[in-house]
Symmetry: C2
Subunit: 235 residues, 2 copies
């Protein structure tokens, strides 16, 4: 029987990647006097991934990568207000309202009487805590974990810390790489809810997913019914 349902946050409970898409488009526009939009988009992707080893995930990392893209986009000099405009994008994103996905509130309300709900989110501690407290749904979660990476070892640490056996645990998320594969690897259950905006870096190679057992739902609104069916099957 499942007793704890853990949720990823960004693009599982609330919108996130769409903000990054908008920021990317805005960067391309800001740098259009220097480079084609395609060049900017490609270069930013490349710099972001290569900077993960230095900066980790999150909006500050993304902003430093936008600045690095700008420095590479120009030959010679860059307008100071171009730099300021990029910093403004970051501050606007950090102050943006948290927009819950459809079904989020209802699904949490339906599940919380029967399960202990947990939030497991990857990224920048300060930024994620800010979003959690502004989301208006933080009270639904009995446990909240912000982690730097979502690896099998880190999930095992979380389970150990909260004295949870993996058989009692189910993880829900939009990233096969971060929310599904590591949980299945440690013998747990996972429910994949794809989001059209998932960051390309979160999409694993096809061969890493082949044969991996997990269930897929279209949206979070289907989770309560899925849980009911699962409990009947496990009974």
């Amino acid at each position: 029987m499942i007793e704890i349902i853990a949720f990823d946050a960004d693009d599982t409970l609330w919108e996130n990647e769409s903000l990054y898409h908008k920021a990317k488009d805005e960067l391309a526009r800001i740098l259009s006097p220097y480079q084609e939009p395609d060049w900017v988009s490609r270069k930013l992707d490349e710099i972001e991934v290569s900077n993960l080893q230095f900066y980790g995930y999150g909006l500050k990392s993304f902003t430093l990568s936008m600045i690095e893209t700008a420095a590479e986009a120009v030959y010679g000099k860059i307008e100071a207000h171009t730099i300021s405009a990029i910093l403004e994008i970051a501050k606007r994103m950090l102050s943006a309202e948290v927009v819950l996905l459809d079904h989020t509130e209802q699904a949490l309300a339906q599940l919380s009487p029967d399960y202990d709900l947990m939030l497991v989110t990857k990224g920048d501690l300060y930024e994620q805590q800010r979003k959690i407290s502004r989301s208006g749904i933080d009270y639904c979660f009995k446990m909240i974990e912000v982690v730097a990476e979502k690896t099998p070892a880190i999930y095992l640490d979380i389970l150990k810390k909260h004295h949870i056996e993996v058989e009692r645990f189910l993880m829900v998320g939009n990233s096969l790489r971060s929310d599904i594969l590591p949980i299945v690897a440690i013998g747990g259950r996972a429910v994949y809810i794809p989001n059209e905006n998932t960051w390309f870096h979160e999409v694993p190679e096809q061969e890493d997913v082949e044969g991996v057992e997990y269930d897929e739902l279209e949206h979070l609104g289907q989770l309560p019914e899925y849980m009911a069916a699962l409990e009947r099957a496990l009974d």
Copy 2:
């Protein structure tokens, strides 16, 4: 009787602020074609503090503030390689070796047979975890907590999570604001070990410290003897 000793990390166990001082000097040098060093230093301080609300603590925040300082330092255009040079400072700092302060290793070795040691560090999750794992002393700590802020409420959460009564807990650190005042506020014991490089933002107003009870040591090497004396006094 004290059972758990918690340590701050940056500038308590290892050097940190000195890296920021060097970076600040380097920024002043990089921006010297545009502004006086004093202007750069003052402006950076100002921008850093005003950016805390957006970015929180840590090296990525500091780097974004250096970039913002650069954008304000110039009128009109800035050399792209000036921006690149600032980003290089950040990457060098993030890759820098962790330099333990004198006495750190010895004090931890002397204390760890008799106490459960905990690390409580504020800042960027990814960055702090990287430093902890590179420090070579992570195995000394039974518990490690990276937090976004060090407030009385957050210390209470940590104590609750680990089922620690405040009477059994002692906190050691170099920041009156983050390591000493909040612990005394929740009825706990704290040992202050000043560090000449402590960031000005960590220094509280004089009136906030008046009448507050804590002990002060010159360096971490004195802590084992201090603990022995404290245990005799509490006995």
